[in-house]
């Protein structure tokens, strides 16, 4: 494969995954409003219309975008105007970057070239994601600091404390996954989940690491600062780090939120729900445990796999919304207690148990 083609393929994959994240993010702004409405016996946003057509408020996505772009961009009187402007960009940038290592399909063969359905099959994919999520804290803390506003600064500090605290649990739970699948590559992890347990159960992370899944979900939501862990923002009550942001800069923070949500969904899918794997679907077609087989060609298999990935990610986005509109916010002390006194010991125990079992089984 020559270099030019390789670059072209990489660019194509990048565009695909970015478009996927951005359009799903845009859709999520609508889903967030509509889902909460339906959960709360309301109707939700439904007034924006084009030529009298309302389509259940879908045009609110456009309306919101137009609003965000046309609002006055108010910049506070701060000596750090540049940092103030760059902070939301950082937030969204690192969130998008993480998608590079998410495998959304196995691989396809075009003109004799095998193309992996993943922007970059880095063999330390998990570490890359960790790194990105750690750097993401900069966007928040810089926003709080450069706003020249005490409330924003306090919000930023809360965010830092929260993200650093939960990062430990976040990482430790994945150690279990790494121990089991014996790799740091995301694609490898997904592939490893292709087998069957006891002959019928897909070998998904959720069945191997049930506690890990719970801990991971909790830590991930805390990492992305969404309710019930939205203490850094607390829009209406405690004022967050982006209080001094308006217009599209504020919009970027909002959007980064949604992107991170998709990222979490994608990670949960990848680590615990078999990524692009469809149960019993092998490279050549279905092979059910009771013996039936159903042959499919590569293209159909790959399409099914990408579709499975999309469906799984969408479901976890929905689940996060459900959580966000169900639980009340934690207090900061509760948050810290939960992080350090509950989640951390539990994840340590989980890691230990996994290690022991892996050792024992391996022997």
């Amino acid at each position: 494969m020559n270099a030019g083609l390789e670059i072209g393929v990489a660019v194509g994959k990048t565009i695909f995954i970015i478009m996927f994240a951005l359009s799903l993010g845009g859709l999520l702004t609508w889903v967030e409003r509509k889902q909460s409405a339906v959960m709360q016996d309301r109707i939700g946003a439904n007034r924006a219309s084009i030529l009298g057509l309302r389509v259940w408020g879908l045009f609110h996505i456009i309306a919101d975008a137009v609003k965000m772009f046309t609002k006055e961009d108010f910049v506070p009187n701060t000596p750090h105007k540049f940092i103030h402007a760059i902070a939301p960009v950082l937030s969204i940038f690192f969130a998008l970057l993480s998608f590079a290592v998410i495998p959304f399909g196995s691989s396809i063969v075009i003109a004799g070239h095998s193309i992996g359905l993943q922007v970059a099959d880095v063999n330390v994919g998990i570490l890359f994601i960790f790194a990105m999520m750690s750097v993401a804290v900069y966007g928040v803390v810089l926003a709080g600091w450069s706003s020249n506003n005490n409330y924003a600064l306090l919000g930023g500090i809360r965010a830092t404390a929260q993200m650093i605290s939960y990062e430990i649990t976040f990482g430790l739970t994945l150690v279990g996954v790494i121990l089991i699948f014996q790799t740091l590559s995301m694609q490898e992890i997904v592939r490893a989940q292709g087998g069957l347990l006891f002959g019928f159960l897909p070998r998904w992370g959720v069945f191997l690491q049930p506690l890990g899944l719970l801990l991971f979900m909790t830590a991930a939501i805390a990492e992305t600062k969404r309710i019930p862990f939205d203490i850094p923002e607390g829009e209406s009550e405690i004022i967050g780090f982006f209080v001094e942001y308006s217009s599209m800069k504020f919009g970027m923070f909002m959007f980064a939120d949604f992107i991170e949500q998709i990222l979490v969904a994608a990670m949960v899918t990848t680590f615990f729900f078999g990524g692009w794997q469809v149960p019993y679907l092998g490279d050549t077609g279905f092979a059910f445990p009771w013996g039936t087989t159903w042959d499919l060609n590569t293209w159909m298999v790959e399409s099914l796999r990408v579709a499975a990935f999309v469906v799984k990610v969408s479901f976890f986005c929905w689940l996060q919304m459900l959580i966000r509109w169900t639980l009340p916010r934690f207090r900061f002390d509760q948050l810290m207690n939960l992080g350090w006194k509950v989640l951390l010991p539990l994840s340590l125990a989980n890691t230990l148990a996994t290690a022991v079992i892996v050792l024992w089984v391996g022997r």
Binding site: V38, M39, D41, R42, L322, W325, T326, L327
Partner: protein, 194 residues
Amino acid sequence: MGTVRVIHVSERRRTLTFWERTYLLEVFRGLVLTARHFFVNLWRHSLWLVGVKSGPPGAATFQYPEVRRPQSPRLRTLHRLAKRPDGTPRCVACMMCETVCPAFCIKIVAEEVDDSSIEKRPKSFDIDIGRCVFCGFCVEACPEDAIRMDTGITEIGALSRDGMVLNIETLLSLPPKSERGDKPVDFLQQQLVQ
């Protein structure tokens, strides 16, 4: 209505069981509850969408300009001045409402009438709705049952502050809701026409 349930504070602040304190189960129950609402409502919305409207609607809210919330008969809405059978105002300009009004938004000027069984009547009667807090004290204070808040009009607006001041002619012309029925009054329109 039936029996009244007395809730003691101590009852509300009962100690939590172990499972409740782990929070996990409660989170799950909460999610089940909200998810149930989600799916039931989604189902109802879908039924309505395809034209099956016999079941309950998916939302408890009113689509305001098109659908109006039923008003309680006791609701305090825009004021009106009641009339005697001969069309003259019942009000005798006793200033009780003006005195009691906590927002100081009623201004009455009295004048004498020749009819010695009435003696006094308002020459002008202005209510600045822009300042009114809809407390209903004026209605409560009126010894003649002359000022009432039963027009059912809740959409009140004007394009200027002066437009929010209703004069005696307007107040006398407004019908009670019982006479108007559900026919909406576009109040802004009416103000603009004047």
